[in-house]
Amino acid sequence: MIEIKNLIKTYNIGGQTIKAVDNVSLMIEKGDLVSIVGHSGSGKTTLLSLIGGLTMPASGSVIIDGIDIWSMGDDKLSEFRNKKISFIYQFSSLIPTLTVLENVMLPTAFGSHDENAEEYAKKLLDTVGLKDKMTSYPSQLSGGQQRRVAIARAFINKPEIILADEPTGDLDEETEKEILSLFHSMNREKNITFVIVTHDKEIANQAKRKLKMGNGSIKEL
C-alpha cells in the first residue's frame, strides 16, 4: 500500500517559489491501477517521482508498505527502488551502448543476481514482441520498439509498483492496446500496483481509479 501524506514539493524559479505538488494526501491500495490525468505542468510527473523516491519533498511523507521511504538512507532507498519500484518514461530511456537484452537486464546489475534473469528477460521481450531484436542496439529500433523494450525492462526485477509516465505516448494504436493489455494482465495476475500518468482519456478510463491533478493539487474523479 502507498500512503501519501501532506506531500509538498516546491521549486525555486527566478526567485519565486512554485508549488509543483501542493499538500497532496492519497492512499493507493496494493494491486490498484490508478491513472492520473491533468494538464502539462500540473505536477503529475513530479508526484510520480516523489512516490518513486527520485526527488525529495519539501514536506510530507510517502509510506510504502509501512515504511517512510524518506526515512531510509540513500543506499537503502536505492535498494528499495531496485526491488520494488519500476519506472516507465515517455522518452527513450534505453542505454545506447547496451543491446536490447542487456538493457532489459540492466536493473539486475544493481541488485542481487538472479540466475534466471536472462531467461525471464527473454520471456519479457517475447511478450512485448521483440524477441528477434535481442542483440540489436537501441539506435537500430523504432521509437515504439524502444518504448516496448523499456516496458519489458520495468518488469525484470518483478516489482510491486510500476510508475508509468505517458507510457504509450508515441505508440501506434495497436501497440498501445497490447501494452495496456499487458499492464492489466500484470495487474491482475501479479497484483502489481500501477500508477499511470496520461493525457489519454481512454487509457485513464480503463483504470480502476481515476485521479486528476491541477496546480499541484489532486482530486478523485
Binding site: G52, S78, R81, Y89, F91, P96
Partner: protein, 401 residues
C-alpha cells in the same frame, strides 16, 4: 549472459565516444611519457655519476693549470685529450700533507690507429706499481698484471677479449673489458701501462705514419688518494698552494659541477612536467565534467533503476582510471622508445654521463609512472564523479531531457 558490471558499462561508454577517448588517452600518454623519460634520464645520469666517481677512485686529480677544462671535459664527457707536465709534479704531490697515495696517468689522443670501428677512443696509461684505480679491477677480474702488449677496454669500444687492435703502429691484445659506467672517460677508453705507452710512442717514430712524441719524464695527471681525516678539498688547496702551474681538482668539485648542471636540468624538466600535468588534470577534469553533463539523464535513469550513489561514482572513476591506465601504458612505451632513440643526441648536446638505471630501479620507475598516471585520472574525475553521484535522480533525468 553474465551480470552486467560497472566495468563493462564503463568500457562501452569509452568506446561510444572514441575520438574523445583517444584524445584523452593521448594527453595522459604525453604527460606520462614525458615524466617517465625525464625521470629515467635524470636517474641514469645520477647512476652514472655514482658509478663513475666510484670507478675513478681518486679524491683529487692534479693536472696542468692551463688544461683544467680539458681534464674536466675528459672526465665528464670522455672527450679524448692529451696534455703533459713534468713527472717531478708526482714527487712533489707525494710530499704534500694529507696525500696517502699518488699515481700518474698519461692521456693520449690516438690519431693514427687504423681499425674497423669509428669511436672516439681515448688512451689512458697508468703505472701499475703505484696505481690504485685500475689495478684493483685487474686483480679482481684478470688476477694478473697487465703485460706491455695488453690493453683493457671500456664497454663501448666494440671489441672482445682476444681481439688485437693497433695503436700508433703497435698491436695490442684485448685482455679485458670493463663494466659499463655511463661515463665516457671509462666506457670509451683503452687502458694500458705507462711503460707500454712510452714504448709505443718510441716505436711510433718508425712504425706509424703519425708518430707520437712523449718523453719518459712527462705525465698528464696525478691521481691522489687522501689520508683519513683530510678532505679532498683541503688537500687540493694545499697541492695548488705548494706546486706552481698545476690545478688540483677535488672529486667533489667534479661531482658538484655535474650536480649543478643536473639540478638546472631537473628544475627545467620538473617545471615543464608540472605544467603539463596541471594542463592534463584540467583537461581531463573538464572532459569528465562534460561527460557527466551530457550523460545526466542516463545517470539519472540508472539511479531510478536502483543504482546507488557509489555505482555512479564508480562508473565515472572507472572510466577515468581506465583512460589514464591505458594512456599511461602507451606513454611508458612511447616515452621509453623515444628516450632510447634520442639518448645519444641528448647526451651529446648535454655532455653529461649516463647509464641506464638497474632493472629494479627501472621497474620501480615504471610502476611509479603507471600509479602516477592512474592518480591523474582519479584526481581529475573526482569532482565530476562526486557531483554525478550527488545529483538527485529526478533532477538529472529532467535536466538531461
Amino acid at each position: 549472459m553474465k551480470k552486467i558490471k560497472i566495468f563493462s558499462l564503463a568500457v562501452r561508454n569509452l568506446r561510444r565516444k572514441f575520438v574523445r577517448t583517444f584524445v584523452l588517452l593521448l594527453v595522459v600518454a604525453v604527460v606520462t611519457g614525458t615524466l617517465l623519460s625525464a625521470t629515467i634520464f635524470i636517474t641514469g645520469m645520477k647512476n652514472a655519476m655514482k658509478i663513475g666517481t666510484y670507478r675513478l677512485g681518486a679524491d683529487v686529480l692534479v693536472v696542468p693549470e692551463k688544461n683544467e677544462s680539458q681534464a674536466k671535459a675528459a672526465l665528464l664527457a670522455g672527450e679524448p685529450t692529451s696534455f703533459y707536465m713534468d713527472r717531478d709534479v708526482l714527487e712533489k704531490v707525494k710530499k704534500i700533507e694529507g696525500v696517502k697515495k699518488a699515481s700518474p696517468q698519461l692521456f693520449l689522443k690516438p690519431s693514427s690507429f687504423t681499425c674497423c670501428f669509428n669511436v672516439d677512443v681515448f688512451l689512458v696509461a697508468f703505472e701499475p706499481k703505484t696505481d690504485f684505480t685500475i689495478t684493483p679491477w685487474l686483480e679482481k677480474n684478470l688476477k694478473k698484471p697487465l703485460a706491455g702488449n695488453e690493453i683493457i677496454t671500456g664497454r663501448e669500444i666494440p671489441v672482445v677479449v682476444g681481439d688485437t687492435i693497433p695503436f700508433f703502429g703497435a698491436p695490442f691484445n684485448v685482455v679485458g673489458t670493463m663494466e659499463p659506467t655511463g661515463m665516457k672517460f671509462f666506457d670509451q677508453t683503452v687502458f694500458m701501462t705507462m711503460d707500454a705507452a712510452y714504448t709505443m710512442a718510441e716505436n711510433s717514430k718508425t712504425k706509424s705514419m703519425q708518430p707520437i712524441d712523449i718523453a719518459k719524464d712527462k705525465i698528464s695527471a696525478v691521481l691522489v688518494q687522501v689520508q683519513e681525516g683530510y678532505t679532498p678539498e683541503r688537500v687540493a688547496i694545499r697541492i695548488e698552494h705548494d706546486i706552481e702551474g698545476i690545478k688540483a681538482i677535488a672529486s667533489d668539485e667534479v661531482i658538484s659541477t655535474v650536480r649543478r648542471q643536473l639540478n638546472g636540468l631537473l628544475r627545467g624538466i620538473l617545471a615543464i612536467s608540472a605544467v603539463l600535468w596541471i594542463l592534463a588534470l584540467l583537461m581531463m577534469g573538464f572532459a569528465f565534467y562534460m561527460i557527466v553533463n551530457e550523460r545526466q539523464r542516463e545517470l539519472g535513469l540508472l539511479r531510478a533503476m536502483g543504482a546507488k550513489k557509489g555505482h555512479i561514482f564508480s562508473l565515472i572513476i572507472t572510466e577515468a582510471v581506465m583512460i589514464s591506465f591505458i594512456g599511461g601504458v602507451i606513454g611508458l612505451i612511447s616515452g621509453y622508445m623515444l628516450l632510447l632513440t634520442f639518448k645519444s643526441l641528448i647526451l651529446h648536446s648535454l655532455k653529461l654521463p649516463y647509464l641506464l638505471p638497474p632493472v629494479m630501479v627501472l621497474i620501480e620507475l615504471l610502476s611509479g609512472a603507471i600509479i602516477f598516471s592512474m592518480l591523474t585520472g582519479l584526481l581529475s574525475s573526482l569532482l565530476p564523479a562526486v557531483s554525478a553521484s550527488k545529483m538527485e535522480p529526478y533532477e538529472a533525468i529532467r535536466k538531461g531531457e
